[in-house]
């Protein structure tokens, strides 16, 4: 068992906690700084993640606004809150909820990847919308902070070993 963990690289509750904390810190500039600068027929606007969602809503693209809101705002927050809960439960050593906590971990692990949506979207728009002086899209520094936050939360989930949620080491229960 210990051999497997050692081989899997950095795993452990404290690494997971450190990475989650770093992700939480990065989420602040990610949400405050602009992520995209759009220039369209003379008008120039800088959008943060949230104002981008509001803009989509105003354009009447409600479904798209909901998707971007879920992927870029809701999932990162839910994921960090969930990780925080898991990490605190491990500290308290309460094994009553092992099954439920393991399920939460599985869900967090699955939804995390969808946060990358905004990064891919920015890459796609930046690549496609380059019409010289008429219309351009330029990524801004907030995007780097956002991508860092997403990468750190995924690393944190990867570092967290759900086996610590269970009372006995695997293999000795039979």
């Amino acid at each position: 068992m210990s051999r497997l963990l050692a081989r899997a690289g950095f795993r452990g509750t404290s690494s997971a906690a450190a990475l989650a904390l770093a992700a939480a810190v990065m989420l602040v500039p990610a949400n405050l700084l602009p992520v995209l600068n759009t220039e369209y027929s003379g008008t120039n606007r800088s959008d943060t993640i949230f104002s981008g969602v509001v803009q989509l809503w105003r354009q009447g693209l409600w479904a798209i606004a909901a998707i971007v809101f879920t992927a870029s705002i809701l999932i990162p927050i839910l994921k960090l809150a969930g990780l925080g809960w898991l990490l605190l439960s491990t500290r308290r050593g309460a094994f009553r909820n092992s099954r439920r906590l393991t399920r939460i971990y599985a869900i967090l692990d699955f939804i995390g990847r969808w946060s990358m949506l905004d990064v891919f979207l920015a890459a796609f728009l930046t690549g496609l919308v380059q019409f010289g002086e008429f219309s351009t899209v330029v990524p801004q520094s907030g995007l780097i902070a956002f991508a860092a936050a997403v990468v750190l939360t995924v690393l944190s989930t990867q570092a967290f070993d759900p086996r610590v949620l269970w009372p006995t080491p695997a293999g000795s229960t039979s």
């Binding site: 497997l4 891919f120 796609f124 219309s135 991508a147 759900p162 269970w166 293999g171 229960t173």
Partner: protein, 210 residues
Amino acid sequence: MMGTLDCLTCHLCGQEHRRIHLEPGEKALCTRCDAVLEKGGRLGPDTALVFSVTGLTLSVPALLLPFVSASTLGNERISFLFTGVESLWSGGMPSLSVLVFVCGWLLPFALLSAFAILRAPARLGWQKSDLHPLSRAARVLERWAIPEVQVLAVLVGLMKLGDVVDITIGPGFWCYCAMAFSLLIARHSFDLDSTAALHDAGERDAAARP
């Protein structure tokens, strides 16, 4: 090493189970945390190999053929899968550019290759060498291969641009979607956990449920 074939370790809680035969449509669930351990393949044992080879074949045109073209007031711009990566790089964000390329193309390609390499020897009757390092690496890198997220991002982008510019979807995008789908199926029918299992056989049976 025979033990690893009979043993199924839950990837979530670490509980060990003795492997039992599953009929198509049946699932083996972990006795402790209810996670799905293994599924009886509805599509046959070669599914992972077939879809990984299909995905690998599609990943090349996905990279080389036009992805999306946009035109506005007589200006036309054709973008490829790599165009966004290039613009981020030249726009002073090399880290993001690498992230997008690695998660969007390189790792899906690597994962499909890993599936093909892990499955092909058995199918073709070659001498099996020790492929455990490969399956373990695939297990670690798996969650970074996210072409399905890129597909959704492109669709969102197309909707966003729809009423501003004229958009034509190119063959590259369709190939990319098909590649993402192939990866999804290959990943679904390939059991990395049991391939990467390193433990000796446990005592408990996996509960088989239809």
